[in-house]
C-alpha cells in the first residue's frame, strides 16, 4: 500500500469534516484512508476542491448530513474523519 497522500502534509488549516459545526461551508482538501469506503466516497464525487456544506446532524449527533451542490448525503462521523476540508470564508 503506497500512500503518497501522506507525503503531502495537509496545510495547517485543514480539518476533519466531523469537526465542523452545522451550517459551515468548506472545500475538500483530500480524502484519507484506503479501501472500499474511500473508493465509494470518490465514486460519489467527493474529490479534492469539491465544495460542501454541513447541513445538520441526526439525533445523537451522528450521522452528519452534508450538501454537495445539487445533492445531499449522510455519512457517519467515523467516515467524516477521513475527509479533510478547508473552511470556505464567505465573501
Amino acid at each position: 500500500m503506497s500512500m503518497p497522500e501522506q507525503a503531502l502534509a495537509p496545510p495547517q488549516e485543514s480539518l476533519q469534516l466531523n469537526a465542523l459545526p452545522d451550517g459551515t461551508r468548506c472545500r475538500i482538501h483530500t480524502i484519507t484512508g484506503s479501501g472500499p469506503i474511500r473508493q465509494r466516497l470518490l465514486d460519489m464525487g467527493l474529490l479534492p476542491d469539491v465544495e460542501l456544506q454541513v447541513e445538520r446532524r441526526a439525533p445523537g449527533g451522528d450521522p452528519i448530513w452534508i450538501r454537495l451542490g445539487s445533492w445531499q448525503m449522510a455519512l457517519r462521523k467515523a467516515e467524516a474523519t477521513s475527509i479533510l476540508v478547508l473552511p470556505v470564508r464567505d465573501a
Binding site: E5, R40, L47, P63
Partner: protein, 716 residues
C-alpha cells in the same frame, strides 16, 4: 463464509431470446431507471424515492414505435455510482456491463445531478460499450431553471442524447429511436472521454502491452485503467489467462508511480479527479442556463422539521403510529362489507341443502373453503391501507430520512443504518426484505439483518393481529396494541442483532454512506399501483395457497369422523343443541388435526394454547395467514348452529386475554414461513442460517410466551 455467501449471489440470468438485441439500462441509484424500464417494456416493477430499490437484474422486452418489430431485450441494472462494484447488487451491474454481451447501454443520468451521472457515463464509455445517453428527470431540472444544449452534447460525445421524464412519460419515443439508432450504428467511444495527457499515454502504453500478450478488444482500455488501480479482480483474471502476467503488473506499477509522482495524488484520487474533470467540463460546455439555487428550498424546509435533531425521532414514531391507526380505523367499514359478502355466500351455499344436513360437500364449501379463504380475505382492506401508507413514505423520499434519523439507534445495536430500509420492506413481506439486504456491502451486516428480519411483522401476519386484537382488546386499545406488536418486533430485532454482533457475527463495523434524495410528490398512479399490486398478490395467495391449505386442513379437521353415535333420544330441543355442540367438539378432537393438536398439548399448554390453536400453528408454517383460516375452520366445524358467531367473538369467549397476548408474541417471533426459510437458503447459500434462524426464533418464542403466560397467570 464470505466465499459461500458470494457464490450464492444469484445472478438471475433469464435466458432471453438470442435473436433479440440486448440493451441495458445503467445509472446512479435513484436516477429513475426502473420507471423508464417500466415505460419501455410495459412492465410494472416497484419504484421508490430512495437509493437501492432495484437489487436484481431484471429483463423484459421493449417494443414500440422506433424499435424493431420483434422488440429489444432490455435489462434493468441495479443503480451504481461507478463500475468499482463494492456491494453484491453493484457487482451484478458491473458483471453485466463488462460481460461484453450487450449491444447497447443506455446510461440514465439524473438531470438534476448531471455531473455525477456523467462520471458514470465516462466509465461506461471507457469500457467500449455502445452508449446512449438519457438525461432523465428533465421535468424537475427544467422546473429548477436548468437548460441544456443537447446538440452541443451530441457533437461533443458523438452519441445519441435524449431528454426524458419517466415520471411524466415524456421523451420515451425519442429514447426508443435513440436506442434503435445506436443498435444500427454501434460506436466505440473510448476516445471521447477527455483525460489528461499523462493518463491517456499511460493507458495507451498499457493497452499496447496487453496487445502484446494477446488481449485485444474494446475492453482493454478499461482493463488498463483497472491495472493502474491494482484492482484484484482484474489481476486475478489476467493471472489465469496470461502467462507472463507479472511483467504486465510491473509495467502497470511503474505507470502508476509515474502518474502519482506527476500529480502529487494517489492513483485513486487521481483517476477520480480525471473522470470528474471530464464530467464537469462537459457540464460547463452544454449548460445554457444553470438551475436556480433556491429550487430546492421547499425540500430543505421540510427537512429542517422532519430530519430535525430533536423532532425527527418523535415525528417518525408518530408517523408510524398514524399508519397503524389508519389501518385499523379506516379498514373497519370495508371489512364489514367483505364479511357480509362471505356470510351471504355461506348462507346461500348452505341453503342448497336441507336444514340440518351433514353433507360433506356442504361442510367442505362452507366450513372449509368459505371459512378459511373468507377469514383471510376479510383483512384485504387493512393490507391495502398499510401498503398505501408505506408506499407514500417510500415514494416521497421520507424513508431515506428515517434511515438517517434511526442510524444512531441501529448503530448502537450493531445494525447498519442501511439495514433500515430492508427492515422496513420486511413490514410488507420478509422475502423482498431479505433480498433488499443486498445493498449492504459487508457480509456480516447483511447476515445480521437477514437473520432478524422475520421479526418485522410482515403483511401476512397483519390478518392475525386484526383477528386477535379486536378479540382481546377494548376498542380504544386496539391501535396502540397493533403499534405495540410491531414495536415489540422491532425491539426484539435490535436486541437480537446486538447479541449476534457480540457473539457469532463479531467483526468490524461497515461505514454508512447514503444519498438523500430530494422530496418528490408521489404520483397517484404509482401509489395506486402499489396498493393494487399488493392486494392482487394477497387475493391470489388467498385463492391458491390459502385455498389449498384450507382444504387440506379442513380434511384433516373432518377426518377421521367420530365413531358411531348413539341414536338420538327424544330430549328437549335445548338439550339436543348443547349435546350436538359437545358432539361436534368431540368429533374435532377425534380428527387427524385434532389428534395432532392434542398431541402438541404437552408442549404448548404451558403457553396457554389449546389443541385448536395448535392445529392452526401447524398451518401457519405454510403461510402465516393460514392461522386465521384454520381458526375459522375449527370454529366453523365446531358449531352446529347455522348462524355462526363472529370468529373474534368466539375467540373472546374461548380464551383469556392473557392467552391472546402469549399467542400474539408466539406468532410474531416463531417459525418464519416456508418461503422465508427457502429465501434464506438461497441468499446465504447455506441451510445453516435458514434453519438456525427458524429454530432459534421458535425456541425463543416458546420461552418468551411461556414466561409471559406463566408469570401473567400468577398476577392476573
Amino acid at each position: 463464509m464470505s466465499a459461500s455467501t458470494q457464490s450464492a449471489q444469484p445472478l438471475p440470468v433469464k435466458v432471453t431470446s438470442r435473436n433479440l438485441p440486448t440493451v441495458a439500462l445503467a445509472g446512479n441509484p435513484n436516477c429513475g431507471k426502473t420507471t423508464l424500464f417500466n415505460s419501455l417494456t410495459g412492465a410494472y416493477h416497484t419504484v421508490g424515492n430512495y437509493p437501492g430499490v432495484t437489487v436484481e437484474r431484471r429483463s423484459g422486452t421493449a417494443r414500440g414505435q422506433g424499435l424493431p418489430a420483434s422488440g429489444v431485450s432490455l435489462i434493468d441494472l441495479p443503480g451504481t455510482y461507478s463500475l468499482s462494484a463494492w456491494s453484491p447488487e453493484e457487482r451484478i451491474a458491473q458483471q453485466e456491463l463488462l460481460g461484453g454481451q450487450l449491444d447497447a447501454v443506455v446510461v440514465v443520468v439524473d438531470s438534476t445531478n448531471l455531473a455525477r451521472g456523467l462520471q458514470l457515463l465516462a466509465q461506461v464509455l471507457l469500457t467500449g460499450s455502445n452508449p446512449v445517453l438519457c438525461l432523465n428527470m428533465s421535468d424537475e431540472a427544467g422546473k429548477a431553471g436548468q437548460r441544456l444544449d443537447l446538440e452541443q452534447m451530441r457533437r461533443l460525445l458523438e452519441i445519441p442524447v435524449v431528454e426524458t421524464s419517466g415520471k411524466l412519460d415524456q421523451g420515451i419515443g425519442e429514447l426508443r429511436e435513440a436506442i434503435q439508432h445506436a443498435l444500427e450504428h454501434p460506436k466505440d467511444c473510448r476516445r471521447r472521454v477527455t483525460l489528461g495527457l499523462e493518463l491517456r499515454d499511460a493507458l495507451d502504453r498499457l493497452e499496447q502491452h496487453l496487445d502484446k500478450v494477446g488481449i485485444r478488444g474494446p475492453q482493454v482500455t478499461w482493463m488498463a485503467l483497472k491495472l493502474l488501480k491494482e484492482d484484484p479482480d482484474t489481476r486475478g483474471l489476467l493471472n489465469v489467462i496470461v502467462e507472463e502476467s507479472d511483467s504486465l503488473f510491473e509495467e502497470a506499477a511503474r505507470e502508476k508511480e509515474l502518474l502519482q509522482k506527476g500529480s502529487g495524488q494517489d492513483i485513486h484520487l487521481y483517476i477520480g479527479s480525471q473522470l470528474s474533470g471530464f464530467a464537469s467540463g462537459l457540464v460547463r460546455e452544454v449548460t445554457l442556463h444553470l438551475s436556480r439555487e433556491d429550487a430546492r428550498r421547499l425540500s430543505d424546509t421540510i427537512d429542517s422539521v422532519l430530519a430535525n435533531k430533536v423532532l425527527g425521532l418523535p415525528i417518525f414514531l408518530a408517523i408510524m403510529y398514524g399508519i397503524f391507526w389508519i389501518t385499523f380505523s379506516m379498514g373497519e367499514a370495508p371489512m364489514g362489507w367483505i364479511e357480509g359478502l362471505f356470510g351471504f355466500m355461506a348462507e346461500a351455499v348452505s341453503g342448497l341443502w336441507p336444514a340440518g344436513s351433514d353433507s360433506l360437500l356442504r361442510s367442505l364449501l362452507v366450513d372449509g373453503i368459505l371459512a378459511g379463504v373468507g377469514g383471510v380475505m376479510v383483512f384485504l382492506p387493512n393490507i391495502v391501507l398499510l401498503f398505501a401508507g408505506l408506499a407514500i413514505l417510500e415514494d416521497t423520499g421520507y424513508m431515506a430520512r428515517a434511515a438517517f434519523i434511526m442510524d444512531r439507534v441501529m448503530h448502537r445495536f450493531g445494525l447498519h443504518g442501511q439495514s433500515f430500509l430492508p427492515l422496513m420492506t420486511g413490514f410488507g413481506c420478509s422475502i423482498p426484505g431479505i433480498m433488499a439486504t443486498r445493498t449492504l456491502e459487508n457480509e456480516r451486516d447483511r447476515l445480521v439483518t437477514m437473520l432478524v428480519l422475520p421479526l418485522m411483522s410482515c403483511g401476512a401476519r397483519l390478518p392475525i393481529w386484526m383477528l386477535l386484537i379486536p378479540a382481546f382488546f377494548a376498542p380504544p386499545w386496539r391501535a396502540p396494541a397493533l403499534w405495540g406488536i410491531y414495536m415489540t418486533g422491532i425491539l426484539l430485532a435490535l436486541v437480537f442483532s446486538l447479541l449476534l454482533r457480540r457473539t457469532v457475527l463479531r467483526g468490524e463495523e461497515a461505514p454508512f454512506v447514503m444519498e438523500l434524495p430530494p422530496y418528490r410528490m408521489p404520483t397517484l398512479r404509482a401509489i395506486l399501483y402499489k396498493m393494487y399490486d399488493r392486494s392482487r398478490s394477497y387475493v391470489i395467495k388467498a385463492g391458491t395457497i390459502i385455498l389449498g391449505v384450507s382444504i387440506v386442513l379442513w380434511a384433516m379437521t373432518s377426518f377421521p369422523g367420530p365413531p358411531e353415535q348413539p341414536a338420538e333420544t327424544g330430549a328437549p330441543a335445548g338439550i339436543v343443541e348443547v349435546q350436538e355442540n359437545l358432539d361436534a367438539a368431540d368429533a374435532l378432537r377425534y380428527s387427524l388435526a385434532g389428534r395432532l393438536g392434542v398431541a402438541m398439548e404437552p408442549l404448548f399448554s404451558p403457553l396457554g394454547f389449546d389443541w385448536r390453536i395448535n392445529t392452526a400453528l401447524i398451518g401457519a408454517f405454510a403461510a402465516k395467514e393460514v392461522f386465521v383460516a384454520q381458526m375459522g375452520i375449527v370454529f366453523a366445524l365446531g358449531e352446529t348452529d347455522e348462524n355462526s358467531v363472529e370468529l373474534s367473538e368466539a375467540l373472546r369467549s374461548s380464551y383469556s386475554p392473557l392467552v391472546g397476548i402469549s399467542l400474539m408474541l408466539f406468532l410474531l417471533i416463531a417459525t418464519p414461513c416456508m418461503a422465508t426459510v427457502a429465501i434464506m437458503k438461497k441468499e446465504t447459500g447455506s441451510w445453516k442460517y435458514a434453519w438456525g434462524q427458524f429454530i432459534g426464533l421458535s425456541v425463543f418464542a416458546w420461552l418468551l410466551s411461556l414466561a409471559v403466560f406463566q408469570l401473567g397467570s400468577l398476577f392476573l
